[in-house]
């Protein structure tokens, strides 16, 4: 399996982020792992990338409950760029919430590929890498 160029983790739980990074590295699922502690910083970072013409991460793992700008708000603001630039980026919601409410809300965003529940198993990570590759998303 060819690793992805870049995976982005947006989450305020630094222990979780640390562990996930470690797992991804171990699995060799991605060459680069970018992390942001909340939606605001993620938006700033990613939009800057778009403006600079840089490649966006192929997979974004987005938490919902975060300070300053939460997952939903992030999605709404980021959606403006999705159509043109983000065709090749899969966005996943990753939350420890098993509330139906959140799940239903996630379905309403067509940008969202899937709703995943924490903690992410290694198999799940491999699967989403595979999904991206199979869908013809060319690794850049």
């Amino acid at each position: 399996m060819k690793p992805l160029d870049s995976i982005c983790i947006i989450d305020d739980d630094n222990i979780y982020t640390f562990l996930l990074k470690k797992t991804i590295s171990k699995l060799n699922a991605a060459d680069n792992i970018v992390t942001y502690p909340n939606g605001r910083e993620a938006l700033d970072g990613l939009i800057a990338q778009i403006k600079n013409g840089e490649q966006l991460p192929q997979v974004i793992l987005l938490d919902i409950n975060m300070p300053v700008v939460d997952g939903w708000t992030f999605l709404e603001e980021f959606a403006d760029y999705k159509e043109s630039v983000l065709k090749h980026t899969d966005i996943y919601i990753v939350s420890s919430s098993i509330a139906d409410e959140d799940r239903k809300r996630a379905v309403q965003y067509k940008e969202i590929k899937d709703y995943l529940v924490k903690p992410l198993a290694s198999a799940t990570i491999l699967k989403l890498v595979e999904t991206h590759t199979m869908a013809g998303g060319e690794p850049r």
Binding site: Y16, V68, S97
Partner: protein, 781 residues
């Protein structure tokens, strides 16, 4: 007869009593009594039509009629009562009073109506003048008597055949002869054996036969159809033995005519022995026919009146007689056998009519008389046998005499109890409605088609407070009670109502002293025959209801809030606990696969951190749970200022570290009835939040001050910190585990707890904030 002692009285009586009716006789009895009393002298005078010398027909003291008497008689017109003075007396009588032997002080002259060519008569009164009542009685007596007497006088003159004063006979015998031969009745004299001795001309006329061979007859002539001799008849036998008798009998004349006659037999006595019998025969055929037809008509009338359920009455003012039919009395609960006796109709009226109605009834008659109209109608109440009063409608018809004075009033009475009751029922129900209108708590304003106020009740006065402070007034346009700005809206409203559509609106009215009242105002169209005639504005005071509604809404919100908390709680359980356990799971698997001691130590360190976080989360959840378990909190009087000071003390370290300026501007005398732990926690939370989210570019400042709203204390906590984007986070501000700043200490539990505590105590929190400027929290205790 022996009682007519006075020679003149006896003479007069003897002269005419045989020829006159009982009524006249009664009058003469009265006259005789007057003579006997020697107090009143009746002067009968005959006046010559051409004036000049006249004669006194019969007096007790004078037989000449002098010019001065004529002058007196001339001045008396029908209906007059002339009352002379002492001087008049002496002038009138001359020396005559001496003859009477009794001093006379005044004269009352009463003319004989309709006979001023003949005579008048005067009452000469004794020294003591009559009082008014006696005078009136005398007048009535004389009027009644005068009619009779007038007739008697006319008869005398007819009888006597004397029409000329000059040939007025002085010898009574000539009188008697004249009377006899010219009498309008058949008068004849029979011997006790029934032999006809003498008959007047009228006799032959009546009996339709000639006098040939009848004089000296045994009297069979008298009843030609039966052939029975007069002497054999029962009635004649009574008269022949000294009794007088009168009876009606039908006869058939020789010519075959049927007649009804009234026969009176009067014995002629001399020294206690009956020497003959006078027969006076009157043709009453016509009268009988008239009577019969009258009776028939009376019967019909009676039937009509009975059918009409009315009672009739008849009052003869001259005769002072009255008659009321059984129905009349039945209306008042009397049977004819129980009808009480009254002196006259006036007396009856005085006794029975309701005192309040006397004036009304009298006025009605008076007006009818004054206007010359014949009839009148008046409602009054008459006393029932049981004591209560019966309302009646009385319709009267006035008959005027030749003197143009009312002579007779007759009419019908109708019982109007039922219509009166109906009227009263209507009145009552109207009164009831009025009572409701006046005493109800709902305000009503009645408005007509032209939008003018027709009526309103007391509670409706609040209407004026709606928009415009002006006193409600009947006749005023409804537009006068709204500001010009509201005119267009009102116009639309009123035209909708007048179009038949009911309109409803709610109004919050704040009085000058800040009292808030809620009114529900309904505009209900009033239509008659499909046309809206106006509308009713009803103002219902619904403050209680609205308050109850608000309470309900509050309870509902509280429940919703609690529900939300429960959801939050489940969210925390699912989210926070899971995130920790997820981390622990991952850490453990890394720990297991750790390749060296360093990595193992790193994982252990993280495991410790996660365990710490998990512990914190559980502690927080404990706090939340325990908060919602406090059902009954201890309330104490707490000094707000003191509690703010205490929170400052607790956070002293941070305040100094961040150089925070805390301004406690709360008056020291404000005392809250609150739970001490809650108050401490609330203030501590807000203060620590303010410090936590201080703006990094300026000296942090937190001010505490108070205001009042609806009598309750409102605590303002204003900081100049980072502020919150309320558009974005407003709805989540007080949620559990909601953090909005990238702050290391932010746990997302402080505001949630604070809000819960304030809510629990029945208060609320308001927030105003602008990012980068600062935040003001208002706590309504």
């Amino acid at each position: 007869m022996t009682k007519y002692n006075h020679p003149i009285g006896r003479q007069m009586y003897n002269f005419i009593h045989l020829l006159l009716t009982d009524e006249v006789n009664t009058f003469f009895e009265d006259v005789q009594a007057a003579f006997d009393s020697r107090h009143i002298c009746v002067v009968l005078m005959r006046k010559h039509a051409a004036g000049g010398k006249g004669y006194v027909f019969s007096t007790g003291f004078s037989d000449s009629f002098e010019p001065r008497h004529v002058a007196l008689v001339d001045c008396l017109r029908p209906g007059d009562v002339w009352q002379g003075t002492k001087a008049d007396v002496s002038n009138f009588l001359g020396t005559s009073s001496a003859i009477l032997g009794s001093p006379i002080d005044s004269i009352i002259g009463l003319p004989l109506r309709g006979s001023n060519s003949y005579a008048t008569y005067l009452y000469l009164l004794p020294r003591q003048p009559l009082n008014r009542r006696s005078l009136a009685a005398l007048k009535l007596l004389s009027q009644g008597a005068a009619t009779v007497f007038e007739a008697a006088l006319q008869q005398q003159f007819v009888l006597g055949g004397i029409t000329s004063v000059d040939s007025f006979p002085r010898d009574p015998l000539v009188w008697y002869r004249g009377l006899f031969s010219n009498h309008p009745y058949a008068v004849f004299l029979l011997s006790v054996q029934g032999v006809l001795l003498e008959a007047n001309a009228r006799t032959w006329e009546l009996l339709e036969c000639s006098d040939d061979g009848v004089i000296g007859n045994d009297g069979t002539f008298f009843f030609p159809n039966t052939g029975v001799a007069v002497s054999k008849t029962e009635k004649f036998i009574i008269a022949a033995s000294g009794g007088s008798v009168s009876f009606d009998i039908a006869i058939v004349t020789p010519k075959g005519n049927r007649k009804v006659v009234n026969i009176t037999y009067l014995p002629v006595t001399e020294k206690s022995t009956t020497i003959g019998v006078y027969a006076i025969v009157r043709d009453i055929t016509r009268r009988m026919l008239v009577q019969h037809s009258l009776r028939e008509r009376e019967y019909q009338l009676k039937l009509v009146l009975e059918g009409a359920d009315v009672g009739w009455w008849d009052w003869d003012l001259r005769q002072q007689t009255y008659q009321c039919d059984p129905k009349w009395w039945a209306m008042l609960g009397y049977l004819m056998s129980e009808v009480p006796q009254f002196q006259n109709f006036e007396d009856l009226f005085e006794q029975l009519i309701h005192p309040d109605d006397v004036a009304v009834a009298a006025q009605a008659i008076k007006e009818a008389v004054a206007n010359g109209t014949n009839n009148y109608a008046v409602a009054y109440q008459l006393k029932h046998k049981d004591g209560h009063y019966v309302p009646v409608m009385s319709r009267g018809f006035i008959t005027f005499g030749p003197d143009m004075l009312p002579a007779r009033i007759s009419g019908i009475n109708m019982d109007i109890t039922q219509s009166k009751n109906a009227e009263q029922a209507v009145q009552r129900s109207e009164n009831n409605l009025k009572t409701v209108f006046k005493n109800t708590e709902v305000g009503y304003i009645l408005v007509d088609r032209n939008l003018q106020i027709v009526s309103f009740n007391q509670p409706a006065r609040v209407f004026t407070l709606c928009d415009y402070n002006k006193e409600l007034k009947e006749g005023e346009s409804i537009y006068a009670y709204a500001t010009p700005e509201a005119h267009a809206a009102n116009q639309q409203l009123y035209s909708a109502v007048l179009g038949g559509l009911k309109q409803k609106l709610s109004k919050k009215i704040v009085s000058n002293d800040g009292d808030v009242r809620y009114y529900e105002i309904t505009f209900s169209p009033v239509s008659e025959c499909g046309v809206t005639q106006g509308f009713i504005i009803s103002l219902e005071h619904v403050t209680e209801r609205v308050k109850a509604d608000l309470d309900r809404t509050r309870s509902f919100n509280l429940l919703a809030e609690q529900n939300k908390r429960l959801l939050n709680f489940s969210y925390i359980v699912s989210h926070n606990l899971r995130s920790h356990t997820g981390n622990i799971k991952s850490l453990l698997s890394f720990l297991r696969e750790a390749e060296n001691a360093d990595e193992q130590n790193e994982m252990m360190g993280m495991l410790e951190a996660v365990s710490e976080q998990l512990n914190d989360t559980i502690t927080n959840l404990n706090e939340v749970v325990s908060l919602h378990q406090n059902v009954n909190l201890l309330l104490e009087d707490l000094c707000l200022w003191q509690y703010i000071g205490r929170a400052e003390d607790v956070l002293r370290g941070q305040i100094i570290a961040k150089d925070v300026l805390v301004l406690n501007n709360v008056p020291r005398d404000i005392v809250l009835r609150y739970n001490a732990a809650y108050l401490e926690s609330i203030i501590l939370n807000f203060l620590s939040n303010a410090i936590k989210y201080a703006h990094p570019d300026r000296q942090p400042q937190v001010e505490f001050c108070t205001t009042y709203k609806n009598g309750a204390v409102v605590l303002h906590i204003t900081d100049n910190g980072m502020g919150i984007d309320l558009d974005r986070h407003g709805d989540k501000l007080f949620g559990l585990y909601r953090t909005f700043h990238n702050n290391a200490d932010a746990k997302g539990i402080g505001l949630f707890l604070t809000k819960s505590q304030v809510d629990y105590m029945g208060g609320r929190i308001e927030v105003e904030s602008e990012p980068d400027k600062g935040t003001t929290f208002k706590i309504f205790f």
